[in-house]
């Protein structure tokens, strides 16, 4: 069972309650490592819930999928840190820090 379509059929069978315990265990191991199959399973589940609600079963609900994944959070943290470093560098280049002591001392200019 190496084909992706085979796993999608297994997902349907699992949602129908037709898999044995060993098959469900194998499918669970695969879903843990395959993002596409776990997404497909969530889509199938939501489709079934929608069909059930349209058929008059208001109690049918599906657990919402997480909107933000860990990888996305890490990406945004990285973007934030890099943006902060860049802003600090630009700010220092534009306005500077306190400067050296000699730069703050008075100076005569003969005109």
């Amino acid at each position: 069972m190496t084909n992706h379509e085979e796993w999608v059929r297994q997902i349907d069978a699992e949602l129908d309650g037709e898999l044995t315990l060993a098959e469900r265990a194998a499918l669970a191991r695969h879903l843990a490592s395959c993002g596409a199959c776990s997404g497909a399973r969530a889509s199938h589940l939501e489709l079934r819930v929608a069909l059930a609600r349209s058929a008059g079963e208001p109690q049918a609900v599906a657990v919402p999928r997480p909107r933000i994944r860990g990888r996305t959070v890490a990406l945004w943290i990285l973007v934030g840190v890099l943006g902060g470093i860049a802003a600090g560098w630009l700010g220092h280049a534009r306005w500077g820090g306190p400067g050296s002591l000699e730069e703050t001392r008075a100076e005569f200019v003969v005109r």
């Binding site: 306190p98 400067g99 002591l101 000699e102 730069e103 703050t104 001392r105 008075a106 100076e107 005569f108 200019v109 003969v110 005109r111």
Partner: protein
């Protein structure tokens, strides 16, 4: 040996000329200070002041804001065609806040000097040339106005957010002291004395009514030297003199210090008498 002899001969006229210039009786030095600030590209006059005084008059300049204070003592070393300006700076800047919210000040002191022609305008950037939004224009010229011994000061500050102070710093060589003795309801005739600081004292006799009189020995002295190097350099008490009074009969000494500003000062003497002393700049010679 020959070069040393030649250098001495060459330097003698220069030294003689500068000495003559410094001691010229009618010469008077004038500092004109203009404080300008740049707003929206235009230079705006924030304050202007003029200090005049005898040739050895120095200028004490104080510039302050909420975050910084600059105190400068500007000294002039005249030459026949140019003037050397030497400035001693004492600055304080707010460097941050302590953990309890109190301001932390950064203190700095240094010297600057420059050379310019008489009457030329010298720009001074008090916060460094990078901070060119505020600067001072100083010109020094020599007037031939005779005899005046006291300096005079005039400052016109047009921007109230800026603190600018200009003071003439000159140690008096003489002082006019007006003395009056008061005993109860009786007041003696005033005695006008032209005293030289640190010179030997003089005996003064006050006549009170028809039969009473009192003699005291008076002398003038400089105040004690300042305790800090900053006060020593900026000389805030340059025009302060101290009157030392010794009762001729009892030998007890009393001292009263004051500025040459025509303000009467009381000096209680032994026996309940009071000596009123007023210090002033001597008249023009």
């Amino acid at each position: 040996m020959r070069s040393s002899w030649f250098a001495s001969v060459a330097a003698a006229p220069l030294i003689f000329a500068s000495t003559i210039a410094a001691q010229a009786p009618g010469a008077r030095i004038a500092y004109t200070v203009r404080l300008l600030e740049r707003t929206a590209g235009d230079a705006r006059l924030a304050a202007v002041g003029t200090i005049r005084g005898p040739q050895d008059t120095d200028l004490r300049l104080t510039l302050g804001s909420d975050t910084s204070e600059v105190d400068v003592l500007l000294e002039v070393f005249p030459e026949p065609d140019t003037v050397n300006l030497t400035a001693s700076f004492y600055t304080r800047r707010v460097a941050g806040r302590s953990r309890r919210g109190l301001p932390l000040w950064e203190v700095d002191s240094y010297h600057r000097e420059t050379r310019a022609a008489w009457g030329a305008t010298v720009r001074l950037y008090p916060y460094g040339p990078r901070h060119d939004a505020l600067w001072l224009e100083i010109s020094v010229r020599r007037d031939s106005v005779g005899g005046e011994t006291r300096p005079d000061e005039a400052v016109d500050v047009r921007d109230s957010t800026i603190r600018l102070g200009l003071d003439a710093v000159m140690r008096p060589r003489r002082a006019l002291v007006r003395l009056t003795l008061v005993r109860g309801d009786t007041v003696s005739a005033p005695q006008m004395l032209d005293l030289v600081p640190d010179a030997p004292g003089r005996r003064v006799t006050f006549v009170l009514g028809r039969h009473d009189s009192r003699a005291v020995d008076v002398s003038l002295a400089r105040p004690d030297p300042p305790l800090t190097g900053r006060d020593s350099a900026l000389a805030p008490d340059a025009d302060v003199v101290c009157l030392r009074v010794i009762d001729a009969a009892q030998g007890s000494a009393r001292v009263r210090c004051g500025r040459l500003n025509n303000v009467a000062r009381r000096l209680p003497l032994a026996g309940g008498d009071t000596l009123l002393a007023t210090f002033a700049w001597p008249a023009a010679r």
